[in-house]
């Protein structure tokens, strides 16, 4: 009885210190590296508001205020308002399509007075809230087809609108919700099928489509012949064959007719098929040179030469990991990756100890979103994935991104602090 009363008096009781420290470390580390990326002799002051790092400081301060506000909010409101927030974000996403400001090819910015915000960044936590609220309801059984369709719709609606805004990277992030659905009962076969489709996708781009289909047929035939129990197996295998063939052909079609030339060339560069292009390959190459030249210990803070040359584009936003890799070396990269892995695993661990399904699903969503950003962003800068412009959570320069990730994480911290309550 006493403890409960105590909790009401102190809104900060029960919050997870580990997550809090990981958050602060990443944000501050990011700020220092934005400073290093933009650093020049003229604007030496880290608080200079003319520069990215000066402005980032304001965003960090704003984020802290918002984090505080979330911790002071009544925890029940997140579930009750989930769909309201989701609806609000969907409306603003659609609004952006019509009145949005176009910045470097994607129409995803909303200009409100002097600041421009990207509703797409906020769509992630809103979708996560809505999904958690929908599936968290005990009346809903995920094994039912209707519930599955509804859950997928909640995820796909914002993803498709964002895709229409030409923000392919942000839209891809929504695919990570598949991990949440997997936790809530989606069959592992879907994950495996997804992995196979991705493998097919890559192979379809590298190999001739007829050779690939022939290979599939061969593998299935060998499988069929080696099995003793062939009852009905041939029907299943023919089904699989038709599916793989149609995937192969549709990949071919999508690649040549749906993707835009710059996306095509980014993928081609990655696959080593295209070598004579200047722009797309250049960025990744410079990024890899910057990271690779960092060595084991790095060149030292503010001493990155590739940075000073302005070789790598978007150094403080999408390519911030270059600066880290160059100046902090393998040790720094390892520590940063360690921080992210620690953050994600801790979130998953906390998610599993939730009493309410809402909190658990939300927690998985947080980890999945951070994971998607982490994998796509770092994968891109070290040349494992095509150039897809999305920020590194908490670290990259950018107000919308930092605010959105802060909100995403702190709602979970708040939910976790009240894990004993009924939400």
């Amino acid at each position: 009885m006493n403890t409960t009363r105590y909790k009401y008096h102190n809104p900060f009781a029960g919050i997870d210190r580990t997550l809090l420290w990981l958050y602060f470390t990443l944000v501050i580390f990011g700020w220092l590296n934005i400073y290093a990326a933009v650093y020049d002799e003229i604007h030496k002051n880290i608080f200079d508001l003319q520069t990215n790092y000066g402005r980032q400081m304001i965003w960090i301060a704003t984020s802290f205020v918002i984090a505080m506000a979330i911790l002071l909010t009544d925890v029940k409101l997140f579930n009750s308002f989930a769909f309201f927030i989701y609806g609000l974000v969907i409306v603003s996403l659609i609004l952006v399509l019509f009145v949005g400001k176009e910045i470097s090819g994607s129409k995803s910015w909303l200009q409100i007075g002097p600041i421009s915000i990207q509703p797409g960044e906020f769509a992630k936590f809103a979708t996560n809230l809505a999904l958690a609220s929908y599936l968290g309801n005990i009346k809903r059984n995920f094994s039912k087809a209707g519930v599955k369709i509804a859950a997928f719709s909640i995820i796909l609606i914002p993803a498709l609108i964002i895709l229409a805004q030409n923000e392919t990277g942000s839209a891809l992030v929504f695919l990570s919700f598949i991990l949440v659905l997997y936790r809530e009962g989606l069959s592992a076969k879907v994950l495996i099928a997804g992995a196979i489709i991705i493998a097919l996708f890559v192979l379809a781009l590298v190999l001739d489509k007829y050779i690939l289909i022939g290979l599939c047929a061969l593998i299935l035939l060998v499988y069929y012949l080696t099995r003793r129990n062939r009852k009905k197996l041939h029907w299943i295998l023919i089904g699989i064959f038709i599916a793989t063939s149609s995937i192969t052909f549709s990949v071919d079609y999508v690649f040549h007719n749906v993707l835009q030339p710059h996306q095509r060339s980014r993928i081609n560069v990655l696959l080593g098929k295209e070598t004579d292009i200047k722009g797309a390959g250049y960025n990744v190459y410079q990024s890899m040179i910057a990271i690779g030249s960092g060595g084991f210990w790095g060149k030292g803070y503010l001493k990155g030469t590739q940075t000073k040359y302005n070789y790598v584009p978007k150094q403080s936003t999408d390519f911030i990991f270059c600066t880290i890799g160059e100046e902090w070396g393998f040790v720094g990269s390892l520590i940063l990756i360690g921080l992210y892995v620690g953050l994600m695993l801790r979130i998953l661990q906390l998610a599993e100890r939730q009493r309410s399904a809402f909190s658990r699903i939300y927690g998985y969503g947080v980890a999945s979103i951070i994971f998607a950003h982490f994998a796509i962003n770092i994968g891109m800068t070290i040349g494992l994935l095509p150039v897809i412009g999305i920020p590194l959570p908490f670290v990259s320069y950018g107000g919308s991104s930092l605010l959105a990730f802060t909100i995403l994480l702190f709602i979970f911290i708040k939910l976790d602090a009240h894990r004993h309550d009924i939400i």
């Binding site: 990271i291 690779g292 994600m344």
Partner: protein, 600 residues
């Protein structure tokens, strides 16, 4: 319950995926950062040097396709300060023909710009020096030779209009990231207004150099090189022969000639005198010559055609007549009395029959007549309100292209001055002035200031009977014609016909002020001006266009401190018109006399 626990087991699968991805990243990073040398070698900027490929700047032609601005090769010694080490400074100084002090200064300047980026060390070394240096360069790490092109001018003409090219300054580097220290940029004239078209786009070639600073071929077979784009060529509207004649006629005189094709606004010739040879402002001699030219008391750098302002004198009487006709204050038949030298408030310098009609008054340039026109215009249109009357007058005047810049490809124009009524309010008080107070405006004296370009444009508007295209110097960029918006004056075309009759009589009439310089087969319409000024002898002015029917050339001539308009400006205008319309000069004696005259 078992299902629940199996679900919570899935956490380990998800965690496993996360850890697997992180492990792949760490392996890849370990390979990139610790095992492989490739990236370290690549990042060492002493093995990879970015050589900028400067595209040849676009060429400039006259309207008949003759080259007036061209390029020649030059070599700059560049330095990347951070890479400079263990060099025999004395030997390098000797090779480059500089002293130790200069060496240190140059290196410091380069270091100040950037220790990592190349900046020019010694510009435009001779071909012989280049030959020597090329062999010994390997002993001077951090130094290399950058080929580039310099402007050269086959004819030393139109220096002000063509403008010059110079190294970018700090401000220009900051305002446009395209430029790096040592780049060239158009500083004035059409070199400035067409900078983006002329310069093309710099290319970049990444070459590998060994520790001895020797080139070892391209990097990754030129995969990351950026191609250059050649500058675009300009075809100007200038007529080389006409421009050459104009410059010759203006030798040893202060003033300007501007000739324009009325139907298009294309400038055929634009002379500002005294001028200079544009070859003086090229390359490493530029700084020194620029200093010398700017200290010259004759001020040859001053572009009189667009920056000098003059009272228009009697040429402005045409404008007053036009405004008078347009506002209905006068008709072509209106007469005003002239009492010769005894006229008030403005005397007449000519003796003629009185009272004259408008056409006769233009031919005779009768001062009292135009005072009458001006007074009537302002008083009638204002209906007693001096401000209203004056403002209507001013708007009409400005619609002819006065009192403002032309929105065109000629940079650094000045506005001139058609004073506003507020100006007179400040000067005389709101109720302190009337037409009589500002009577000088009636004969183009007083506060009005115009540039020779505006004056030529006045001839254009009259020749076109009411409209003009902003006068410009470039006809086409890389074959693509430039476009200009037609401007309509506020004055109806029949009024231009009336005053054209008067201008016709100036040359062809028995007592016209230009009658001595009419042409055999071509009718010239014009007006002379003799402008009093505080600097000495009167300025000699003239505007003209020809032929009277379907004019092909409109011209203004201004000769400072020369005397009567009819004595100097008119013969020069007449010679220019003859040359342009017939292709030759029949009055060689007159040409000789005009070009020989020294009026400085």
């Amino acid at each position: 319950m078992s299902q629940l626990s199996s679900h919570s087991q899935k956490r380990y699968v998800v965690s496993g995926i996360i850890i697997a991805v992180a492990a792949i990243f760490i392996l890849k990073l370990f390979y990139m950062q610790v095992i492989s040398d490739k990236y370290k070698i690549l990042s060492e900027s002493n093995v990879r040097r970015i050589v900028t490929i400067y595209p040849a700047r676009g060429l400039i032609y006259d309207r008949n396709g003759r080259k007036i601005v061209s390029n020649e090769e030059a070599y700059d010694v560049m330095v990347v300060p951070r890479q400079v080490r263990n060099i025999d400074t004395a030997e390098l100084c000797q090779l480059l023909e500089i002293d130790m002090q200069s060496f240190t200064n140059r290196l410091n300047k380069a270091r100040q710009y950037s220790p990592y980026r190349a900046s020019p060390f010694v510009e435009q070394i001779s071909k012989t020096t280049y030959g020597y240096l090329q062999e010994k360069l390997y002993r001077f790490p951090g130094f290399f030779v950058q080929p580039r092109t310099l402007r050269t001018y086959p004819y030393p003409i139109a220096a002000h209009t063509l403008g010059y090219v110079g190294e970018v300054n700090q401000k220009e580097i900051e305002s446009d990231p395209y430029y790096r220290m040592g780049d060239y940029i158009g500083k004035s004239g059409i070199e400035k207004s067409y900078e983006k078209e002329l310069r093309g786009v710099k290319g970049e070639k990444i070459v590998l150099v060994d520790v001895f600073n020797r080139e070892k071929g391209s990097f990754e077979n030129g995969l990351y090189d950026k191609p250059q784009m050649a500058g675009q060529d300009l075809i100007t509207s200038l007529d080389l022969d006409l421009q050459l004649l104009g410059e010759k006629l203006m030798m040893n005189k202060r003033g300007s000639i501007v000739a324009i094709e009325p139907s298009t606004g294309e400038i055929l010739a634009i002379v500002s005198s005294p001028s200079y040879d544009p070859n003086l402002l090229v390359g490493r001699v530029r700084g020194e010559n620029f200093k010398r030219l700017s200290q010259d008391p004759l001020n040859p750098l001053f572009n009189r055609s667009i920056q000098a302002t003059y009272s228009p004198g009697s040429t402005f009487k045409l404008v007053n007549a036009l405004v008078g006709l347009q506002t209905g204050a006068i008709t072509p038949e209106s007469r005003f009395y002239c009492n010769g030298k005894a006229s008030l408030p403005i005397a007449c310098s000519h003796s003629h029959y009185s009272p004259l009609e408008l056409i006769g008054a233009i031919e005779q340039s009768c001062n009292p007549y135009f005072w009458g026109v001006f007074k009537t215009t302002i008083e009638k249109t204002g209906g007693g309100d001096i401000h209203k009357g004056y403002n209507i007058w001013r708007q009409n005047v400005m619609s002819l292209g006065f009192g403002n810049y032309f929105d065109t490809d000629i940079p650094n124009q000045v506005k001139g001055n058609i004073p506003s009524s507020q100006y007179y309010d400040r000067y005389f008080g709101e109720k302190g002035w009337k037409a009589l107070t500002i009577r000088s405006l009636a004969i183009g004296q007083g506060e009005i200031l115009i540039t020779p370009l505006q004056l030529a444009n006045q001839a254009v508007v009259i020749a076109n009977k009411g409209y003009y295209y902003p006068p410009h110097v470039v006809k086409s960029v890389q074959g693509k014609p430039t476009r200009w918006n037609k401007k309509q004056s506020s004055i109806d075309s029949q009024h231009f016909e009336t005053i054209t009759k008067g201008m016709y009589r100036v040359f062809q009439g028995v007592s016209g002020t230009g009658r001595w310089y009419k042409l055999e087969n071509i009718d010239i319409c014009g007006k002379t001006g003799t402008v009093q000024n505080p600097h000495g002898k009167d300025h000699s002015l003239c505007i003209a266009f020809a032929p009277a029917e379907n004019p092909k050339i409109a011209i203004s001539v201004v000769i400072e401190n020369a005397g009567f308009g009819a004595t100097w400006a008119v013969p020069i205008a007449s010679l220019m018109i003859e040359k342009y319309l017939t292709g030759k000069i029949s009055r060689t004696e007159l040409e000789e006399r005009m070009s020989q005259a020294n009026l400085l």
